[in-house]
Each structure stands twice: as structure tokens, then as C-alpha cells.
């Protein structure tokens, strides 16, 4: 029953996210959305996932969103008209999924194929083969360790990407002259003078103003 209530909350909050145009409010609701999601994960026995969802969804994502809003704007423009095509596309996708869930094994069914074929092996053998009681950790780090290596590479990619996109330019003679070319070129993007950013007063970042 708790499950249904939480899921209903989830639905309401996401409706609110769609409707509200103040992006600060939306981001805060996004944080609540993640917390609710995490509670549901706990009820569904996925404690590790819940932990991660809280840390990432309610924590890091929210901070990044707030930082972005501080750097951009927090009002969403009201669109001229409700576009019809996205609505149709969304409904077709949703209909296809409802159709797809019709034959899916019932929720919580211990004899569903998903719970019978590969999974029991982990539950039975992981303690013997790896000595780690948390099966999720055992599967994550060992049986499917290669996936986790890939996952870590994704995070690494994101780090490199953000540094490439937003990182402060190191002052080198070449980059300084390059900057002049870009400035005189006109059409090129200008990288607003981050290079000479002075350390004035060590005031907290804009992101922290929230």
C-alpha cells in the first residue's frame, strides 16, 4: 500500500514539474522526486540503488541544476501554442509501452523468468565465490565488473567533457594570441575573459547563493 501512495506522489510531482514555469521550483521538485524514487527503491528491496539515487538525484543533480540556473535564467518562457506533434509522439510511445507491459510477468512474481535464470546463481554462489555478502557489490564489482569499468569510464568522460567545455583556460602564449584572433574574427564564439579572472575577495560562487 505504501508503494501505491508513494507512486501516486511521484505522479503528482512529475505533473507539477511539467506545469510549473519557475525553474527553481522545478529543480527543487526534482529533488523531491528523487527522494520519493529512493523511498520506492527501498520498498522494492533495492537499497544500494536507493542510496545512489539519493546521493546523485537529490544531491549532485540538484546542485548542478541550481548552479546552471544561477548562470543562466530561472524563468521558462511561455510557449505560443501547445505543439501537437510531441503530444502524438508521446502517446504512441506510451501506448506501445502499455501494450508491452500486458504480457510482462506480474510484479513480485518469484517465478518470473527474470528471477529464475541468471539471478539465483548470484544469490547462491556469490558468497562462496567472492566472499562478499552484499550480492549487489559482488555482481557489480566482479561478475559484471566490466560493466562497472565502463560506468567509471562514462563518469570519467563526463569529467573530461565538463573540463573541455567550461574549464578555465590555462594561460599560454599560443592561447592568448588565439584569443585575439577569435576576438577580431567576429563570427567566432568569444570565451568571456575567464583567463584573467581575478581572485577578488574569495566570495562564494553564484551557485552557492541559493
Amino acid at each position: 500500500m505504501i508503494n501505491i501512495v508513494l507512486l501516486a506522489f511521484l505522479a503528482i510531482i512529475s505533473l507539477a514539474i511539467v506545469r510549473i514555469r519557475n525553474l527553481f521550483a522545478v529543480v527543487m521538485l526534482g529533488g523531491i522526486y528523487s527522494l520519493l524514487m529512493a523511498s520506492i527503491f527501498v520498498i522494492l528491496d533495492a537499497v544500494d540503488v536507493a542510496f545512489t539515487e539519493v546521493a546523485v538525484g537529490a544531491g549532485i543533480s540538484t546542485i548542478l541544476m541550481l548552479g546552471t540556473l544561477a548562470l543562466t535564467t530561472s524563468r521558462e518562457k511561455i510557449p505560443m501554442h501547445t505543439p501537437l506533434l510531441p503530444l502524438i509522439v508521446t502517446f504512441i510511445t506510451g501506448a506501445m509501452l502499455v501494450y508491452g507491459t500486458w504480457d510482462i510477468p506480474a510484479f513480485g512474481d518469484a517465478s518470473a523468468p527474470a528471477n529464475l535464470h541468471v539471478a539465483p546463481y548470484y544469490l547462491e554462489r556469490s558468497m562462496v565465490e567472492t566472499g562478499v555478502p552484499n550480492v549487489v557489490t559482488a555482481v557489480l564489482a566482479s561478475y559484471r565488473g566490466y560493466d562497472t569499468l565502463g560506468e567509471l569510464t562514462v563518469i570519467f568522460t563526463a569529467g573530461i567533457g565538463v573540463l573541455l567545455l567550461l574549464g578555465r583556460r590555462r594561460e599560454t602564449p599560443a592561447s592568448a594570441s588565439e584569443q585575439k584572433v577569435a576576438a577580431s574574427g567576429g563570427t567566432g564564439r568569444s570565451d568571456p575573459g575567464k583567463e584573467t579572472a581575478s581572485d577578488d575577495g574569495g566570495s562564494a560562487s553564484k551557485g552557492s547563493a541559493t
Binding site: I60, N134, T137, A141, S142, G145, T148, G159, R168, S205
Partner: protein, 138 residues
């Protein structure tokens, strides 16, 4: 926010505990919920809190960007390195079983090391992303 004395005191008090908790999550992940990823995020959060309360410049003194980028690479290299080490010990890539005398303790060691790699890179990436976002804002 440098004038908010309560925030500064509370932050100063709680940051060590946040870090300690991160380490607990990191090394207790074998037995309870948690693991490298969650620990990394929490560890990163400690730095983010520090930057929020004491300003980015002070935070950059504690964790300069060069050092953070260094750790971004180190974590991934540690993970991949464990895999390659398994190759040298005669196993398949990422086969931790060959790392120690018996298979189970090898697995245990391997899992510990790769989770550490995950923790290091995740924490460093989170710090790096937040610092670059914050730096862009001034």
C-alpha cells in the same frame, strides 16, 4: 556566505564526519549497502559543502584543479590496472581470482581495489564538475 557564523561552525564540524562516513560507505560496501560510487559522491559532497560555505578560492587551495584532475585519471587507471594485473597473473582481464593465493581472497582483494578506484574517480569528477561550474559563475 562568509559571515554566517552558524553555517561556518556547523560546516566545520560536519565535514570531517561526512568524510568519515564516506570512508565507511566505501569500505563497508561489501557487507551493507554502499560502495565506491556512493562513497565517492559523499566524499565529493564534503568538498562541495566546503566550497559553498568558505568560498571557491579557499576550496581550490585545499583541492587545486591540477590535483583533482590527477585523481580523476588515477581512479580509472587503478580499476583498469587491476584488470591488466590479472592478465599478468595468467587470468582473463578483470579476473581477480588470480591476484592472491586462493580464489576467494583474490576476489576480495580485487573488489576492494576496484571499488577504491571507483570511489577516487567519482569523488574527483564530482569535485571537478562543481568547481568548474562555480568558477564559471564569477
Amino acid at each position: 556566505m562568509r559571515h554566517h557564523i552558524i553555517l561556518r561552525v556547523v560546516a566545520k564540524l560536519s565535514i570531517p564526519f561526512i568524510m568519515l562516513y564516506a570512508l565507511y560507505v566505501q569500505f563497508h560496501g561489501d557487507f551493507g549497502p554502499g560502495g565506491g560510487f556512493q562513497a565517492g559522491v559523499i566524499f565529493g559532497a564534503a568538498f562541495i559543502l566546503y566550497a559553498l560555505i568558505f568560498g571557491l578560492d579557499n576550496a581550490l587551495k585545499v583541492a587545486p584543479m591540477n590535483v583533482v584532475t590527477f585523481f580523476i585519471s588515477i581512479g580509472l587507471l587503478l580499476y583498469a590496472g587491476v584488470g591488466v594485473a590479472a592478465l599478468f597473473y595468467g587470468g582473463q582481464f578483470l579476473d581477480y581470482g588470480v591476484l592472491a593465493s586462493d580464489s576467494v581472497s583474490g576476489q576480495h582483494l580485487g573488489i576492494l581495489l576496484v571499488e577504491l578506484g571507483v570511489g577516487i574517480t567519482v569523488a574527483a569528477v564530482m569535485i571537478a564538475i562543481f568547481f568548474t561550474f562555480a568558477d564559471r559563475g564569477r
